[in-house]
Every structure is written in C-alpha cells, then in structure tokens.
C-alpha cells in the first residue's frame, strides 16, 4: 500500500517570516486607522483650544461720573433722550481721572485705546437699563479693546520686546494698575451671539451669518426636497427603462461629483447675469445650493424607495389602488424616514459649503443682520473664511469659535439623521 497524499513540508524559518509579515501588515492597517483618528483629534483640539476663549470677553470696570448736565440737560429722563446723549466724552474723562498722570495727545489716545471703540455703548446700555444712575458716579464694565482682550487671554506675551508687542509698556503699566484694583473682569461674551459682523474683533458676532445660513438653507430645502423626492419617485416607480431615463440617471450621478465651485459659476452666469437676481442674496445662494444638493437627495430617496419591498406595492395594486395611489399612499410613507435622513445629510452638506457662495458675492462685508431672503447676507462658512482672512489677532479666536458653532449645528443635524434612521428604519 502506497501513501499518495503529498506531505506538507513546513519550513519553520519561512513560516516565521510569513507570520511576521502578517503581523506587520496588520499593524500598518491599524496605524492607518489610528492616523485618521489622531488627525481628527488634532483638528478638534486645535480649534477648540484656539476658540474657547472667544466665548469670554475682557471688561474694564470704570468709575464714570454720569453727569446729568451732559446726558440729560433738560431732565426729561426719556429713553430717547438718554439714548441720544454722547457717552464718549464721559468715558474718556473717567479714564483720564483714573490715570491723572497721562499728558499729551498721543498718550491720551493710547489710554482711550484700551477700551473698545464701541465701549461708549456699554455705558449707554447701563444708563438705559437703570436711568437712576444719571447724576451719580457708577462703576460700569466697559468692553476692552481686542488687544487688551488678547493680552489677558495670553495671546500677547509680556516678555516679547516692546517693538514686537501690540500692547506697549505704557499700556502694560495702566493694565497692571487696573488689575491690582480688580478692575479687569472676564464675562461671558453675549455680543458674539447677538451682533452681526464688524471690522472690530471685539464687536463682531455671528448672528448675521447664522440668520443668513438659515434663510439660505430654507430656500435650499424648499426647492430641493420636493424636486428631489418627485424626481426619485419618477425614476424609481414610473419611468420606463429607455435611453432617456438612462441619460437622466448618468447625469445625476455625474452632477453629484461636479466640483461645487462649478455650481457657483453656473449661479453667477445664469442667476445673476442672465436672470438679474440680486447679488449676495440668500435666495440666490439657496438656489445654487439646491442644485448642488439635488443629486444627494435624489440618490438617497431612490435608495429608500428601493428598500420598500414589492409586496407592499402588489398588495395596494391588488385591492384596486392606482399606481399613483400605491406610491403616494403606501410606498412613500414607508420610505419617508430614509428620504428624510438623506435630506438632512444633504442639508448638512449645504450648510458647510463655501466655494459656490463666494462666486455669487456672498463674501461681501455685511454688518447688518439680514431681514429678508433678498437682503445681502453672508453664511456661517463664508463668515469663517472672511474672519480667517482678517489680520487682527482677535479674529483668530472668533474664527475658531464660529467653526465650533458650525460644527455644533452639523453635529445636531447628523444626530437627528442618526436618530431618525435608528427609530424608524424598518428591516423587511
């Protein structure tokens, strides 16, 4: 009897090498995943560490003699009169009293420069809140200038030579005196959430950009949700398979991969130059983003419709529903969670999109908070881009803070999408 089975000859050295190679390969894979994780952590920490300070603002407590003669010479105590008064002089003389030794125009201007250029409005607001202060000497917290703010947040180190430091030695002396008196306080930066854009970092806020984003997204949603869903229904449920529908399909897939900036060029050429719609307006931005998001929504909706089993359709048709009734009464409601998930993800993508909006002029500097869809406006990502381009030190933290707000919106939207998927997803 002969044994024909071939014997496996194991070469131990070779096996060792192969196993080592296996381990190495596995390690490379893990390293790659970890690289991605690490980079994400790096990105988030870099933004958070740069931006969290923007939620606080340095204020200086100043004793201001609220002279009734200057503020309210007629003694009316009416809100309009109090609001119309000039508080700049009062604030400046209060600062001069605080530091009596300051002489000369240059020095005085430097002294006035430690408070923000809009600090007089802090005084006005304090008076309006409490008209009884008029005629007394009150301690009012006024906003510091962005350099002073940056100094107290540690962005301007003390040990740099004076010529390279934005806060000069003279100002340091004043600030140290104020600190010693406990006159430097940090408060939550409300203005960041209630102001529009500004050239001064300490006055700039994101409300204008958030409202602009809301208007733009509202237009986008109003356009691309109905059109996208109807297109998906048509292609998935009604369209005959022929060259024409093939063309539409190929087209949609390609549109999904067209660079977003090209949509901006389309908007510039067609919506602005040909149709004469207003520049910088959310309505145009919304239309451009809708065209860009449409493929995403169509593809997601088609997938959701495809996932509804044919038995549902057959049952509805079997009891005499028309094809249209079958789709709108039975298939569409079942596909809705999937469609909505896709829509939210598409909207999240539109919220973060910048490039096409640059093309249609949404980069203009707009300090006002937009009041309607055809007003000039900007959106959150464009605001981030604008601030990132600004040279002032104070804008770096504002930019990071705006990014945090943008990411927060995106996280919320994605969380809603995940919850929707988890709760309503049906496995057939």
């Amino acid at each position: 009897m002969t044994d024909n089975t071939p014997h496996l000859k194991v070469n131990p050295a070779l096996l060792k090498r192969r196993n080592a190679a296996e381990k190495r390969f596995r390690f490379y894979g893990l390293a790659a995943v970890m690289t991605a994780v690490l980079v994400l952590c790096l990105l988030l920490t870099s933004i958070i560490s740069k931006g969290y300070t923007a939620f606080q603002q340095t204020y200086i407590l100043v004793d201001i003699r609220l002279d009734a003669e200057t503020i309210d010479p007629k003694g009316t105590k009416r809100v309009e009169d109090l609001a119309a008064a000039s508080y700049r002089g009062l604030l400046r003389s209060a600062l001069r009293e605080q530091f009596p030794g300051v002489e000369g125009r240059k020095a005085k201007r430097a002294l006035y420069g430690i408070v923000a250029s809009g600090a007089e409005f802090d005084v006005r607001d304090a008076v309006l809140n409490n008209p009884k202060l008029v005629g007394t000497t009150a301690t009012i917290a006024v906003k510091s200038s962005d350099d002073v703010d940056s100094f107290y947040k540690g962005y301007i180190p003390r040990d740099v030579p004076e010529s390279n430091r934005k806060v000069k030695d003279r100002e340091l002396v004043w600030l140290d005196t104020l600190s010693a008196d406990d006159r430097i306080v940090k408060q939550f930066n409300v203005d960041f959430f209630t102001h529009g854009d500004s050239r001064e970092p300490e006055e700039a806020g994101i409300l204008g950009a958030v409202i602009g984003s809301l208007y733009t997204l509202a237009i986008t949603l109003a356009l691309c949700f109905p059109i996208g869903v109807l297109t998906a229904i048509y292609l998935e449920e009604f369209a005959p398979t022929n060259k024409w529908t093939d063309l539409i399909e190929v087209n949609i897939n390609n549109l999904a991969a067209v660079p977003s900036i090209v949509f901006g060029l389309l908007g510039l050429a067609i919506f602005l130059n040909f149709m004469g719609l207003p520049r910088s307006a959310p309505i145009v931005g919304g239309m451009v983003l809708a065209l860009m998001t449409l493929p995403t929504i169509i593809i997601a909706s088609r997938a959701a419709l495809k996932a509804v089993p044919p038995s549902i359709r057959e049952a509805a048709l079997g009891i005499g529903a028309s094809r249209m009734q079958t789709v709108f009464h039975h298939v569409l409601p079942l596909a809705m969670p999937g469609i909505l998930t896709g829509t939210i993800l598409g909207m999240a993508q539109a919220l973060g999109e910048t490039a096409p909006l640059l093309m249609i002029g949404m980069v203009a500097f707009i300090a006002d908070i937009p009041g309607s869809m055809s007003d000039a406006a900007t959106v959150l990502p464009v605001q981030i881009y604008l601030w990132a381009d600004s040279p002032e030190r104070g804008f770096v933290e504002k930019t990071s803070a705006a990014i945090m707000i943008l990411l927060a919106f995106l996280v919320v939207m994605n969380a809603i999408a995940v919850i929707l998927r988890k709760r309503f997803e049906r496995r057939w």
Partner: protein, 460 residues
C-alpha cells in the same frame, strides 16, 4: 415682498379651491343617484390645481421677463433722446436708473433726466406689478368657477389629477438635465468670449500667468497674460501630495476595517472616518492655514529648509486628510463585494490573511479601487476652500512641494471675488478655467463610474 403677498393670495385661493371642490363633491355624493367616479379629495385637488398652477406659472413668467422689458423701455427712451450713446454707457445708465428706483448706490450725481427716467421706470414696475396681480388673481378665480362647474359624478377627477402630478414629476426629473445643460452652456458661452480676447493655445500652453489687465488704456504694465500651465502644474502637485497621503492611509484603513477589525473597533472607527468626511472644507482650510502650514514652516526652519508659509505641502496634506474617508469608504465597499469563496480558496491553500489580501482580494478588487482613487482625485482637483485658504496666489511653475503654488480653483475664486466688469478678459478667464475643471472632472468621473459598474457586474 409684494410678490410674496401675491404668492400667498394665490396659495389662499388654491386652498379655497380645494375646500370648495371637495365640498361640491360631498354635496353631489349626497343627492345624486350616480356614484362619483373618484374619491372625494380628488375633486378638491382638481379644483385646487386649476386655481393654483396656471396663475403661479403666469406669475413666475412675468417675474422673469418683466425686469428685462422694463430695462428695454428705459433703453429705448434713452436712445430716442441721445442717439450717440455707446452700449457700455447705456448699460451703466440703465444700472443707475434701476439703482435710483430701488434705492441702491449710484455711479453719478442724479440729474433731471436720470430722475425722470427712474420715475418712469418705477412707475412701469408698479403698473406691471398691479397688472400681474390682477391677471393672476382673475385667472385663478375664473379657473375656480369653471372647474367647480365641471364637477359632476362622471368627471374623472383622479385621472386628471394624476396626469398633472406625473407631468410635474417628469419636469422635476428634467431639472437635473437642465442643470447640466446650464453649466455646459454658461461655461462654453463665456469661454468662447474669452478665446475671442486670448488665443486658445496661449491659454492652454502658455507658461506665464498674471491676469492683471490694465484698468485704463493708458496704464503701464499689467497687460495680462493667461498661460495656464503653472496653474495645471500647481493643481497636479497639490493633488499628487494629497493622493500620496490619502491612498495609503485610506486603503490600509479600509483593509483593516473590512478584514481585521472586530465589531467593537469598527463601531468606534467608522464614525470617526464619517466625521472626518463631514467636516466642512472651510474648516480644513483654516486648519491648514493656521496650524499645519506654520508647523511645517517652523520645522523647516529647524532643519534649515526654507518652507513657504503657503507651501503646497501643507495644503496637499490637509486635502489628503479630507480625502481619506472618501477612499476608505469606497474601497471598503469594493472589497466587501469580493466573494467570500475567493477568500476561502486562498485560506484553504494555506495563505495567511495578509497574503490573501495582497495577492487575492486586492487584485480582484483592483478595478474598483482604481475607480475609487479616480473619484477621489477628481474631488481633490475640484476642491476649493483648502487651497484658497492655504495655497498661494502667485503662479509659480515649480515641482518643489515646499514652495507656494496656485491652483485652478484658487484662480477662479480670486478672479471672480470682488467687483469687476463682467466682460473683461480677467473674469472670462475664470469661466475658461471652470470649463476646463468641469471637463476634466467629468471625464474622470465617467471613467470611474464605468469602471466601478463593470467591476460590480463581474461579481454580482
């Protein structure tokens, strides 16, 4: 705002139409011996569609064409009074008239002629608005009454409604096609105008890019040269750096996730990659410009290298990070669709896991992976914000990743942001670059999608 009021009035009439139509059907079903053809709401929808759709279409058409007509009126008036005006002056004048009427910024002090033209213009706009409102509402009411009259048990309301709905659906699906047509035509049209001013071959093969054209004819310098080779080179350099980062990391993480990772690890790592994919590009741009680029510059100084603060390396690497999830999720899909039997066969021959992956799965999945890489590359080429924020503006023809280069998308943005005359060679150049970008990415996508589809069919 006025248009919005009209829109809501029409919407109100539509809802009214629904209620009345349905009410009429209910009344009919009460005392008619013939059963109704359709279910009750269809009669409501029937009247509502008649009330709303035609007048909304009228309104939309009116709003699109009316401003042009109003401007033509202003222009013809002006030509009557001043026959020698050039087209440029004419368009400037019309702009001023429109701005004066709507409270915008003027380019000149308003004189009597301008004021009266603006008055005429706003009067015309007002009359036209009222005419539009009257026509639309009258049409809507007329449609309401005739369609209510038409409702009877034999009316095939459902069929008619469904026909309208299916037409609306077809129109919606045409919008995707129209978008493509719009992109192609607007780009081609402007590009042809650009090639009127700058020869085609100078653009495509010129090696000098400085798009500053003279504002006045007597200005010295800045004649503008539009040789796009430095832009292509810059784009390719940054894309190359991006792919050097993204392909290995993306592919290896896809391999690890699909072949090695346990359920728990996947549950942790997959969302991380998805987050990476969901971060807006402007955030990556900020990260590149303020964190990565200074880091490279400083480490370069330590090593004695001079690294530009807008180096191609920083922009390319951050772009690579952005592309990682793209490659990994696409190739993850591709590798998952390699049939299990191939793996089993390889294991049965005694191959280790890594040998199976490198010698069986990757070769089998190669077409799909190539498709994924192509898709990712087209995305990298078209990516704008990262390079706008982190790459340079100067068109250097260099292959050194430590220097600043510029890309096609950066130039499109810089040429078009800000107010320029629309038909200068400078702005038109942006459209030529846009067309080029569109064509290149389109070809890559078509090829990639075809490759992926072919590959899927092989194993399905």
């Amino acid at each position: 705002m006025e248009q919005l009021a009209l829109f809501f009035a029409l919407l109100f009439l539509t809802v009214l139409g629904f209620i009345l139509g349905k009410g009429r059907a209910v009344a009919l079903s009460g005392h008619s011996d013939q059963p109704l053809h359709s279910r009750l709401p269809y009669y409501g929808l029937y009247t509502a569609l008649w009330c709303g759709l035609p007048s909304l279409i009228i309104m939309a058409g009116w709003m699109i064409f009316e401003p042009q007509i109003a401007e033509m009126l202003v222009a013809s008036q002006l030509r009557d009074s001043n026959a020698s005006i050039t087209p440029d002056q004419l368009s400037l004048y019309i702009n001023d008239v429109v701005n004066l009427a709507s409270g915008g910024i003027l380019s000149r002090e308003p004189d009597a002629a301008l004021l009266s033209a603006a008055d005429n213009y706003s009067l015309f706009r007002q009359i036209s608005y009222f005419a539009m409102a009257v026509v639309a509402i009258a049409f809507s009411l007329l449609a309401l009454f005739t369609s209510l009259k038409k409702i009877n048990p034999a009316l095939r309301a459902r069929n008619q409604v469904e026909k309208v709905v299916s037409i609306i659906m077809m129109i919606s699906s045409l919008i995707a096609i129209l978008t493509t047509v719009g992109i192609v035509f607007s780009l081609i049209f402007e590009t042809l105008r650009f090639f009127d001013k700058v020869p085609f071959f100078d653009f495509l093969f010129g090696t000098h890019w400085s798009p500053q054209t003279a504002l006045r004819s007597d200005q010295v310098g800045g004649s503008g040269s539009f040789g796009a080779i430095p832009l292509f080179a810059g784009t390719m350099l940054i894309t190359f750096i991006c792919m050097v980062v993204a392909i290995p990391v993306g592919l290896l993480s896809a391999i690890y996730m699909s072949e090695y990772a346990g359920k728990k690890f996947r549950a942790f790592a997959k969302p991380v990659l998805e987050v990476l994919a969901g971060i807006p590009t402007v955030v990556y741009g900020f990260f590149a410009a303020l964190t990565v680029a200074p880091f490279f510059r400083e480490s370069g100084t330590l090593l004695g290298l001079s690294v530009s603060s807008e180096s191609a390396l920083a922009a390319g690497m951050v772009m690579g990070i952005m592309i990682i999830p793209f490659i990994s999720s696409l190739s993850d899909d591709v590798m998952n669709s390699v049939p299990q039997s191939l793996r089993d066969a390889s294991y049965a021959m005694g191959a280790t896991k890594s040998e199976t992956i490198t010698k069986v799965i990757i070769p089998a999945a190669l077409p799909g992976i190539v498709g994924a890489v192509l898709l990712a590359m087209s995305r990298a080429i078209g990516e704008t914000m990262i390079v706008v924020m982190a790459a340079g503006l100067a068109a250097n023809l260099t292959a050194n990743p430590l220097e600043a280069v510029t890309t096609v998308t950066v130039q499109i943005v810089t040429l078009l942001v800000g107010d320029q005359e629309f038909d200068s060679a400078k702005t038109l150049a942006a459209f030529a670059l846009g067309l080029l970008l569109f064509v290149v990415t389109l070809v890559m996508n078509v090829v990639a999608l075809r490759v992926v589809r072919k590959y899927r069919e092989k194993y399905d």
